[in-house]
Subunit: 352 residues, 4 copies
């Protein structure tokens, strides 16, 4: 059944596979009157783009986006915005040797079980390449949010055992790791390179923060803002955990310690991560996601083939040693898509 | 905007407030032919019911459910199933003294900001009492799943600092903590009672496992099974984090360690928590949620009133010292609702 | 699959059968702050109620509606509004003799084919009694619309061969036929009574008009306002045709005759029925529906039983000789539900 | 708000404007395993294509469709199918003279009122050119339906005052009018040419029939099959009325005449048009739609400009004198989209 659409009001539908002709999205429900150009989208796409440092996959894609519809004289018309990015550097031959094998940790096995056969070229639809469409759509969401003073910033908070100790937003774009702590960059880089040299990969934690979000966003009881964020983040490839504010730390906290006291000047702490009862409280929204180590590794692993026979596999090709790094712009895009949808939904909460 | 419906195919819509006349749900999309009685629902409701031990709120509700429609001669007809549970022991007067104050950690502030005014009696719609409707609907989902050999079991895995060390399913219903480790029950009880005696509350971690789930459930790329589970669990009151399988542990794992090798006999490990690429892989589905300590505590806290003036508040009334305990049947219900919806959706994946 | 919900923003989900315990609805998405009481709903329900004249079914139902949730201190809170109407005068024994027979023109055959068995008591879910929930929900929609100056009025425009010749809104509530032309009442009554005395029934045409609708409502290209109205009206029991404005007359019209000229004072004619390109143009919205003659007639008809064997059937019980009459408040309710949903959706069309 | 998606399971989202870069669709929810090629789609697109006879617009478009995703080795993979058709012969200059004027009968006025400004080139999104995407998506639906033995055929049943007197399916593709009665072709042609020579246009009635539809399709009470069809057909440009089976004739019928008697061999008549209680009954589904005369006419008409000042307008450019003709393949496509969606939904009606 269909599952490639996101959002109720600002609705994004994506299509495309890793080695298909093109990837794209239709953004339906963007309000009319937004000034929008391809450059607005390209900026975010360029941050997600592969091949930008030695720490990521060497696949070369310009990821040039084309807006096909929904814009007239530089502004959105209120009609669906069609977006397309053609694939350029797909090397499908790399995958022929594994077309009958299931790569451990990948979706090969489950797609095969679900659909009866699968597009084995680069993971097909299950590839993180699909997120190019999310980032393009997310860039439109960000422009709507920016007009409201809402800003989203993501960064890598941990790579393997290396954690950031401080957050300097200005640093994030100064290094290929999206790391806000300049003192952690070297250690993180070493952890990744070590794994890579051992044909292995490494996990990471990404943190995304939204500033300037007004109180009131979120639709209880199922479409709560935190529920939407959790679903959105967990839909990103390789994510295995999501937490808001204090997150898993609340398990060992006392109520008196966890409750954020309220003062006329605002909340005294932000264990809530900006969300109470599923609705934004006006404080910063803070979400963290756990990204597993890349499943494509060159170390030989046990598997089976499509006939159920035991086999060995070592994944070659061009892979990220730490996919967590590249999750940053994607997580930002998903945060933007959640917030714009809930920002619009919230306009209907009260009689005008 | 509407946000009280869950599921695409097996669609549940709930209504009702903590101190209103009744709570209820409409379950639309349950296939025809399922044998179903009020007793089937009551069993699960009784597990969620307040007042069953000294460790939970002393509010007394029979939580007797009535099926209003959708059943004929003991079987579902394929038409919507209306469910209703009348409130009996709402003590609204307890709340009059705080009607102009925002309780820290609660949704009081955000509901007020969103809707312009709020039903202050017992938290209104934001109360965990709302979940009575989820549990009733979840019981129907479980009956559908049971026919397919799918079983769901939840338990408390940690209370404050006390973690379980083993899992004995038979023990879960033997203690009021839904604890699967008999050796942990005493320590957990002590942690809760200590907090209670200090007018405080304590957090917990709940784990939910689904057995017998076939491979193939989940609809990429946004309606992935893990995305649906994360959203569903995060929509439960007081949940601040959700993880699948190895969860946040993946951050510090290597790929070679995290990838579950595949053999003709199945997966050799289950770091994936039963989900690969957003689709069930046939292994056990394992989800964990972090539940914050109850926000209603008798320790005085800083807050403001609806006019923005500073104030002090100490919440009296009948409250759970550890809401995490009562989250167990609710988390099971949400797991059941996600699985039944995706079980039905998956029937449409391939040409018949 | 679920199909008992209507609307994207102002979302109504109904439940209940003709001879079940109760009928009801959940209205999710009504904005907060609307002053609302049970009396507001009862007024419309009383207009739909059976047993009010000799021209309609003699089933006696008080149709007293109870609001279960979503209201606090006389105003909507923005949370789901639960509505319930208990059945009182269901005479299920009337139906036992036909439980294995399919009544021609009814849904007996199709429900049996779809679901494998059916609730044969009074048509179960397929009965027009289900519309009690729509009328209750529609009354809430009307209150929202009234604040915007939008008013909806329906009437019978034709009964069998008798057509109205003029429209006097004040007359509609003066006769049990909802007829706006006092000169047509007698002839219409005679046509119905003649059919009744011959154990037969008669068709009718209903017209519904909405005044005060601002330009801009409707969401191309699939959720156009006329598309929504057509779907809504066709979902009413016994409706076989829907037209907007000039309707089927356009087939024989020339473009020069059909196009409504635009002047600074407004449109010079209203062949469009108030909708252009699927969006309201500010003129009156005019919809007509063809309602078939009641299928339950006492004249013996050919049919088959559930085993496929030929049989004869003559439907006894308490039936409307002209269901079209009772379709008037239902059509008004559906118009209200469409308009309120699109009124709210349209608020999101442009950047604020 | 978004409104460019159709269907719940087999979900189509379209984008594109008359004079934009491209039109397209994403079909999400097509089951895996369907053999599909661009030729399958092109066949239907070629029937809709402009410029094929003197009776239609002379705009020249190859309407060549490209499948961008969702197909692997000739079969659908279960992932979204991206479709694109580039515009080739858009002559936007034709429209500059009317960019500040509202064409009567068109969506110019309402789009302007809704969105605050509009893409005036060829009607932008409101142009019937948008339906190219529907026809492409509909062709996929037809392939799914064909496997089930379901076939859809549409034709022109009336042009102005000229009605068909017989239906010979073999004739439909033999003339540019999609007319099934060879004896009516000449008169219809004359009516159109007369209107054209007088700078005017003419209305038409289209009939669409589905054969081989099994009993059981349709989801009461709002997503009834007839409700879905009515909404789908009314969403087609220029349609002002929809009827099923006997349609508006039921107004003057008696119940005894209208009820289709049931025999072991099937229904003795088909006044129901194949739908009872909103569910298909196994008989032919028969839908008729009234298509208004083309609003673009060269006769001068009264209008206003965007500043509200009176003006005169005579629409030049390349227009169909009878848009009803070109509605035939579009109506077939919409019928196919409704049926495939309900065919899939119905698979979930009963426990397997």
């Amino acid at each position: 059944m269909s599952g490639s659409s996101f959002g109720q009001i600002f609705r994004v539908t994506t299509f495309g596979e890793s080695h298909g002709i093109a990837l794209g999205a239709v953004v339906d429900g963007c309000p009319a009157g937004l000034s929008l150009s391809e450059e607005d989208l390209q900026k975010d796409l360029d941050r997600r783009k592969p091949g930008q440092s030695k720490l990521v996959t060497q696949r070369k894609e310009s990821d040039a986006v084309k807006i096909l519809s929904g814009i007239f004289e530089g502004r959105t018309t209120g009609t669906p915005i069609g977006l397309i990015v053609y694939n350029e550097d797909a090397k499908s031959k790399d995958y022929e040797s594994i077309k009958d094998l299931f790569r451990p940790g990948h979706a090969d096995y489950t797609y095969f079980k679900k659909y009866g056969f699968r597009d084995y070229r680069g993971g097909g639809r299950s590839s993180a390449r699909e997120t190019v469409a999310r980032v393009a759509a997310g860039a439109i969401a960000r422009k709507v949010l920016a007009r409201e003073g809402i800003e989203i910033v993501g960064y890598v908070a941990q790579v393997g055992p290396v954690k950031i100790k401080k957050i300097d937003y200005a640093q994030i774009r100064q290094n290929p790791l999206f790391c806000p702590d300049p003192d952690a960059v070297e250690a993180m880089t070493r952890v990744i390179q070590e794994a890579q040299s051992e044909k292995d990969s490494v996990g990471a934690m990404v943190e995304v923060v939204a500033k300037g979000v007004p109180a009131g966003l979120g639709e209880p009881v199922f479409d709560k803002l935190d529920a939407a964020l959790a679903g959105a983040m967990m839909s990103i490839n390789a994510v295995k955990g999501v937490e808001i504010g204090a997150g898993f730390k609340v398990v060992e906290m006392r109520g008196s310690e966890n409750c954020d006291p309220i003062t006329p000047a605002g909340f005294k702490s932000n264990n809530a991560g900006g969300i109470l009862g599923g609705i934004s409280n006006g404080d910063e929204i803070v979400v963290r996601l756990a990204v597993k180590p890349t499943s494509s590794i060159a170390i030989e692993q046990e598997t089976i083939d499509i006939h159920g026979r035991p086999a060995k596999i070592a994944t070659k090709g061009r892979h990220d040693p730490c996919v967590g790094l590249r999750a940053v712009p994607i997580a930002e895009a998903m945060m933007a898509l959640v917030l714009v949808d809930h920002f619009l939904r919230n306009k209907l909460s009260r009689l005008g």
